[in-house]
Symmetry: C2
Subunit: 175 residues, 2 copies
DNA sequence: CGCGTGCATTAATCTATATTAAGAAATGAA
DNA sequence: TTCATTTCTTAATATAGATTAATGCACGCG
């Protein structure tokens, strides 16, 4: 939590909220100024395509921040739903760090670093999606998030990898 | 160029360089502190996978900045090659905006906005790669970059879309 | 100027993953 | 506990896109 204060500032209003499993925190299409810091529990962000299929964009476990950052910063309607996978304790805070008067240079720098890290992980994800097979992506997922598989259903792993649950089942059998 | 000064500061050392077509600007695997602002011309960043296949991560036309941001900020070896597609005039500058003494709050804020936009475009790319067919991705590419197809070979479009040149040829015939 | 190299296209075949369908196992609610 | 619902697995079939190979074309270079 100290870490969070370093970014958002003590002055920023941050509200603690408890959510039950499977509660929706944010809906696709709304303009959201909020970011969600996971204090405890597990949440995910995902989009639903025109065929009604879910695609998990990102998981958020303890200490992670989940947000549609471009929506936050530029007041665009979000592409992403956010909901809880487990009962969760979430700190909801407003991403107003771009207002001159509200933030110090140090906080802005910390925040820039956070954004740079996120860019790095998205960059790796794009390259991975373009250049690796489903099996390779699954193996990398296991390395990157060794604890997640115990907490989420297979079909969500499949959705994150960009494949069907059936394909993942086959891959798992082969390993 | 004014726009660039607003981010990096007049004090930051920025070197103008001219490159011929097909010159390599940055190699995969090195730690790079440099970012590349395209004043004129066209460049690309790409990775090469273990089978030797190229995957274009991003094109940079006039006014774009191409950089491996995570490598810049955290001194990680870059995943990306960068080279020129056309003869280009590039402003090479060091991404040291995270050093307290070198940047003002205003510049940091502008920079954060830039990072947020990049996150937005990567997010759309990830979701697109997971949820759209090659044909749909090609159509979106044409909408998003209407001028690029006149300047780059088909095989580079294919590489950006994550498909082979043969598959793209088939898609184009169908349209 | 011609020639070689790289580019785009087409077609035939192959393969990874999707789709559909069904049953088994796990989970949750009454 | 029991029943219902969701999740996971397996298998058969379908399909998008990869791979391989061959051909015509353009253009940069000696």
């Amino acid at each position: 939590m100290d870490f969070l204060k370093e970014i958002i500032g003590a002055d920023t209003k941050a509200i603690h909220k408890n959510f039950k499993k499977k509660e929706i925190i944010q809906k696709q299409g709304v303009v959201s100024k909020n970011a969600f810091y996971v204090k405890k529990g597990l949440i995910r962000s995902y989009s639903i395509d025109k065929k009604g299929k879910e695609h998990i964009f990102m998981f958020g476990t303890e200490e992670w921040i989940i947000a549609d950052i471009e929506s936050n910063v530029f007041s665009k309607p979000t592409q992403l739903y956010i909901d809880t996978i487990e009962d969760s304790e979430i700190v909801v805070f407003s991403l107003d760090y771009l207002k001159t008067d509200q933030s110090t240079k140090e906080k802005l720098q910390k925040n820039s670093k956070l954004l740079a890290r996120r860019i790095g992980s998205l960059q790796r994800r794009v390259i991975q999606l373009m250049s690796s097979s489903a099996k390779e992506r699954y193996e990398m997922f296991l390395e990157t998030y060794p604890l997640l598989p115990n907490r989420i259903p297979q079909k969500m792993i499949a959705s994150y990898l960009g494949i069907t649950a059936e394909a993942l089942s086959k891959i798992r059998r082969e390993l």
